[in-house]
C-alpha cells in the first residue's frame, strides 16, 4: 500500500486511542476525587505531565491552576493550542480519515465525521457543561464504535493491519503513562491506606480494567497485583503485554509481504522492547522501580514507532533510500512482466 496512506492509517488510530484513553482518565479523575482524601497532594498535575504538556501549561495557563479541576479539564479537552487535547486529537483523526477515505470503509468515515461534527459543535460543549460523565462516556463510546465498525466493515488487509498496529503501540505506551501517573500508589508497602486503594481502583477504572481485574486476579487488591495485571496479563486487551504481543504479530504479518532486500528496522526495535520486558515479572519490576520500568516501556515504544516510520513511511525527501532499493531489486525485464499482479520486487 501507498506509504503515505499507511502512515495516515497508523496515526488515525493512534490519535483515536489518545481520545479513548484520556476521556476515560479524565472521567475517572473527576469523579473519583470524591473518594480520595483531601490529603492526596496532586490529582491533576500528573496528567498534564505525562501528556508532555507541563511546559505549555505553565506558560499559557499558569502553575497556580495545576490543581484546578475545571481549568485542567478544559485544557485537556478543548484547548486547540494543546496538541494533546481531545479536540485537537479529534481534528487529527478526522483529517487523517479524510485523507484516506478511499481506504477506510464508508461506515468508518461516517462515524469519524459524525464524531467531529458533534465535538466541534455546540451540543458537545453543552453536554460538557451540563453532564460531564455523559460527555466523557459519549466521547469514549465513539472510539469503541469506530473499532467495532472497522472490524466488521473493512477489508482485513494491509491498511487494516496498520490501523490495528497504530492502536496496539499507542495503547502499550498510553497504559504505561497512565500507570506512571499513579506510580507512587503502586509501590508495595506494608500498610495500605484508603487513599492507595482509591487510586488503584482509579487506575483500573481508567483502563476499563476494574471488572476484568476482579474476574481474573486471584490475589486481593494491592498495588503489586494491579501493576502485575496491567503490565503482564495476556488476556486483557489493555495490558502492556497484550499490546506488545499484538504488535509483534501485526509486524510479522506486514513484514511477510515485504521483499527480503528491505531491512526491517521495526523488527529489531520490537525485539529490543519485548526482549527486556518478557523476562521480567512483577517482583523484578518493583525492584528496579515501577517508574523506571514504565519509562523503559514508553521510550522503547517511541523507538519502535520511529523504526516503523523508517521502514514503511520514510519522509518524502528521503528519495535516495527508495531509489537505492530499486537498484538492489531485480529490474522488471519486459513490459508483460510489469503488469503481472505479484507485488513489486
Amino acid at each position: 500500500m501507498i506509504s503515505r496512506v499507511a502512515e495516515s492509517c497508523f496515526w488515525l488510530s493512534r490519535y483515536l486511542e489518545r481520545i479513548d484513553t484520556w476521556s476515560r482518565v479524565l472521567d475517572v479523575n473527576s469523579s473519583f476525587r470524591l473518594d480520595i482524601p483531601q490529603s492526596t497532594p496532586e490529582q491533576w498535575r500528573p496528567l498534564v505531565i505525562v501528556l508532555g504538556q507541563e511546559a505549555d501549561f505553565l506558560e499559557r495557563i499558569g502553575a497556580e491552576h495545576f490543581e484546578d479541576a475545571e481549568v485542567v479539564q478544559r485544557y485537556l479537552v478543548w484547548d486547540e493550542t494543546n496538541p494533546s487535547s481531545i479536540l485537537s486529537a479529534a481534528r487529527a483523526v478526522r483529517e487523517n480519515a479524510r485523507t484516506i477515505r478511499e481506504v477506510i470503509s464508508v461506515e468508518m468515515w461516517a462515524l469519524v465525521n459524525e464524531f467531529w461534527l458533534w465535538i466541534n459543535g455546540r451540543s458537545a460543549r453543552r453536554l460538557f457543561d451540563r453532564d460531564r460523565d455523559a460527555f466523557y462516556a459519549r466521547v469514549n463510546s465513539h472510539c469503541l464504535m469506530f473499532h467495532g465498525t472497522r472490524y466488521s466493515t473493512m477489508l482485513h488487509d494491509t491498511p487494516y493491519s496498520f490501523i490495528v498496529l497504530g492502536r496496539a503501540v499507542e495503547r502499550a505506551g498510553l497504559v504505561a503513562r497512565v500507570l506512571d501517573v499513579h506510580h507512587h500508589a503502586l509501590r508495595d508497602r506494608e500498610e495500605t491506606s484508603p487513599a492507595d486503594a482509591a487510586q488503584w481502583i482509579a487506575i483500573l477504572r481508567s483502563c476499563s480494567a476494574y471488572e476484568p481485574f476482579f474476574k481474573l486476579s486471584s490475589s486481593v487488591l494491592s498495588g503489586a497485583a494491579v501493576a502485575e495485571f496491567m503490565l503482564f496479563d495476556r488476556t486483557f486487551p489493555r495490558s502492556v503485554m497484550y499490546n506488545l504481543d499484538r504488535t509483534g504479530g501485526l509486524l510479522q504479518q506486514i513484514l511477510r509481504e515485504r521483499p527480503e532486500a528491505l531491512p526491517p528496522a521495526s523488527q529489531t526495535a520490537f525485539e529490543r522492547v519485548i526482549g527486556s520486558f518478557i523476562q521480567m515479572d512483577v517482583e523484578d519490576v518493583l525492584e528496579v522501580g515501577l517508574h523506571e520500568t514504565l519509562t523503559l516501556i514508553v521510550d522503547g515504544v517511541a523507538q519502535l514507532c520511529d523504526a516503523i516510520e523508517y521502514d514503511f513511511f520514510p519522509a518524502i525527501d528521503a528519495v535516495a533510500p527508495l531509489g537505492r532499493r530499486i537498484e538492489s531489486a531485480p529490474a522488471p525485464a519486459s513490459p508483460s512482466s510489469d503488469s503481472a499482479p505479484a507485488p513489486a520486487p
Binding site: M1, I2, R4, E102, A110, F312, P332, D338, S339, P341
Partner: protein
C-alpha cells in the same frame, strides 16, 4: 406578526407547483406554458408526484437531504481570511428531466464530437494535416496557451487522448441542446452526479421507482474499464492510481470518491517517482510499478522537469515515462489545445475533416474576430454579443454586450481592434430554466448540463449528467463559487 403567521399557514397547504410561472422567451424544462396542464410529457410523472407534496413536506425532505450530505462529508472547502470552512454543494431536490428519445440524439452528438476532438489532438501533436490544409488556422493552435510543443510526436496508448470529457450543454430559447464548451483536461463534478442520485433515491423512493430513470451508477466501472483498456501491458491486473493535488484541493472529495469507487490507490505527487522511464508508487513494500494514472493535477504541475519547475504536486520524469509508452495518463497531457475557446468554432470543420460527417449536436454560432467579416459584424453590433478572450477563462476578459455600459463597450472595441485574433463573439443565449426550490417556493431558475463521456476502447456517455443551476434570481451564472447549485438529472421514457 399576525400577518406573517397567516401567510405561513397558507403556504403550508399549497401544492408545490401552484402558481409556477415560466420565464418569458425561455424554454422551461417542466412546463410548456402557464398552468399545471402545460407540463411536458417526460416530466409528467415527476410533476404529479411532487405536486402531491405540500411545501411543508418539501421543506422537511430538503432538511433531510442536506443533512445526509453534511454527515457523509460530501463537501467542498472554501478558503477565506478566517480559515477554511466546509460547505455542502447546494443541491435542489427537484430533478431536471430529459426525454430518453431526445437524450439519444444528444448522446450520439457527444460521441461524434469526442471522436473528432480526439483525432484533432492526435493530429496536432503528430502530422498536423488539419493545419497544413488550413482547415484550422495554425496561429490559433500555436498561439494557444494550452498547446504544448514539448509533446510533439508523443502517441499515448491506443492513441486515446480524451478519456474523460465533460461537454457543457445549454438549451437555447427554442429548447434545442447546443454545445457551449468542451472540458477535456480535468473535468470535475461527476461525484456530485453519483451522490445526488443516491440522495434522490433515499429522498423519494416511490417517485424514483415509478419513473424508470436511466441508471448512472456504472460510471466508476466504465472509468475503470477505460483505464484498463489504455494501460500498457498484456492482460493481468493493471495497477492504477488517481493522482490528486492533495487533501486541501477543493475537489479532494471527488478524487477520493473516484479512487474508492474504482478500487485503486489515491496518490499525491510525492507518492510516485520515476526510475528509468517507469513510474513507481512508494509503498510499504517498497516501490510498486503503476500502469495507469487518472490525474486530477493540471498539465502545468504534472512534471517539474517538463513544465513548471516549481511544482510540488507533480512527478519528475512522468512525461518521459508516458512518452516511452510505459504508463497511461488519463486524460492525456496537452488536451487543452482542443477545448480552447479559439478552437471551439472549428469543431464542425474538424468533424467534416476527420469523419466526413456533418455535426449532429449544434454548437453556439460563434464569430471569430480573426476573420475580417466576422470582426466587422461583431464591432457593428457589439451590444448584442457576448465577447470572450480566447486565452482567458473563468469569466475574465469577457464582455456581456447586452448588459454592458457605454464605457465598457468602448473599451472592448479598442481591445478587439488592437488584437482581433484574441477574440470570439457569441449571441447571448437564454439558458433554459427549471422549477427550483427557493425561499419563496418554487420558481424558475436557469440551468446548464454537463454530461460525462468516458472513452477507452469505445465511448460511453453517462445518461444525463450534472445539471448546474443558477440559484440567484435572474442569474445566468451556474458556477458553485458564484451562487450555483446542482440538480439530479433524470433521463426518462416519456409516457411511462
Amino acid at each position: 406578526m399576525a400577518a406573517s403567521k397567516g401567510s405561513r399557514a397558507d403556504s403550508v397547504g399549497r401544492k408545490l407547483f401552484e402558481g409556477y410561472a415560466p420565464l418569458d422567451d425561455t424554454w422551461d424544462e417542466f412546463f410548456a406554458g402557464q398552468g399545471q396542464e402545460a407540463v411536458r410529457p417526460a416530466a409528467q410523472r415527476v410533476a404529479d408526484h411532487l405536486n402531491a407534496l405540500s411545501r411543508a413536506d418539501f421543506r422537511r425532505l430538503k432538511r433531510l437531504a442536506d443533512d445526509t450530505f453534511l454527515r457523509s462529508g460530501i463537501t467542498f472547502t472554501l478558503y477565506d481570511e478566517k480559515g477554511s470552512t466546509e460547505r455542502i454543494f447546494p443541491f435542489d431536490l427537484i430533478p431536471r428531466v430529459i426525454d430518453a428519445r431526445e437524450w439519444e440524439t444528444v448522446r450520439e452528438g457527444i460521441v461524434q464530437r469526442i471522436r473528432a476532438l480526439n483525432c484533432f489532438l492526435a493530429d496536432v501533436y503528430g502530422a498536423q494535416r488539419i493545419l497544413e490544409e488550413g482547415v484550422v488556422p495554425r496561429f490559433l493552435v500555436e498561439g494557444s496557451k494550452a498547446f504544448r510543443p514539448e509533446l510533439m510526436g508523443i502517441r499515448p496508448p491506443k492513441d486515446v487522448w480524451v478519456h474523460i470529457a465533460g461537454v457543457d450543454l445549454i438549451r437555447d430559447g427554442e429548447g434545442r441542446f447546443v454545445v457551449l464548451e468542451d472540458n477535456l483536461r480535468v473535468p470535475s463534478g461527476v461525484s456530485y452526479v453519483l451522490e445526488n442520485r443516491e440522495t434522490m433515491k433515499k429522498t423519494y423512493p416511490e417517485v424514483f421507482r415509478d419513473s424508470q430513470v436511466a441508471a448512472v451508477e456504472s460510471y466508476p466501472h466504465k472509468l475503470r474499464e477505460a483505464m484498463n483498456a489504455v494501460a500498457p501491458g498484456e492482460g493481468g491486473r493493471k495497477r492504477m492510481a488517481v493522482l490528486t493535488p492533495g487533501p486541501y484541493n477543493s475537489a479532494y472529495f471527488e478524487h477520493s470518491y473516484l479512487a474508492r469507487r474504482i478500487g485503486c490507490a489515491l496518490v499525491q505527487g510525492s507518492d510516485l517517482f520515476v526510475d528509468r522511464d517507469r513510474v513507481y508508487a512508494r509503498t510499504t513494500n517498497g516501490p510498486t510499478p503503476i500502469d495507469a494514472i487518472y490525474r486530477r493535477v493540471d498539465d502545468d504541475f504534472l512534471d517539474p522537469k517538463v513544465f513548471r519547475s516549481d511544482s510540488l504536486m507533480g512527478v519528475e520524469g512522468l512525461i518521459g515515462a508516458w512518452a516511452a509508452g510505459n504508463v497511461a495518463i488519463v486524460n492525456a497531457v496537452g488536451n487543452g489545445v482542443a477545448d480552447d475557446k479559439g478552437i471551439y468554432p472549428f469543431v464542425p470543420d474538424m468533424i467534416r475533416f476527420y469523419l466526413d460527417e456533418e455535426i449532429l449536436l449544434p454548437q453556439v454560432e460563434t464569430r471569430v474576430c480573426a476573420r475580417e467579416d466576422d470582426c466587422r459584424q461583431v464591432l457593428d453590433h457589439l451590444d448584442e454579443y457576448v465577447v470572450k478572450s480566447v486565452n482567458e477563462a473563468g469569466g475574465y476578459g469577457m464582455l456581456m454586450g447586452p448588459s454592458a455600459s457605454k464605457r465598457q463597450l468602448k473599451e472592448f472595441r479598442k481591445r478587439i481592434e488592437a488584437d482581433p485574433r484574441n477574440f470570439i463573439a457569441q449571441p447571448r443565449i437564454e439558458l433554459s430554466s427549471c422549477p427550483t426550490w427557493t425561499s419563496k417556493g418554487v420558481e424558475p431558475r436557469r440551468v446548464d448540463l454537463r454530461p460525462f463521456a468516458v472513452t477507452g476502447d469505445d465511448t460511453w456517455v453517462l445518461p444525463g449528467g450534472l445539471t448546474r443551476v443558477a440559484l440567484r434570481k435572474g442569474s445566468y451564472v451556474v458556477n458553485s463559487s458564484q451562487g450555483g447549485g446542482s440538480k439530479d438529472t433524470w433521463v426518462v421514457e416519456a409516457g411511462r
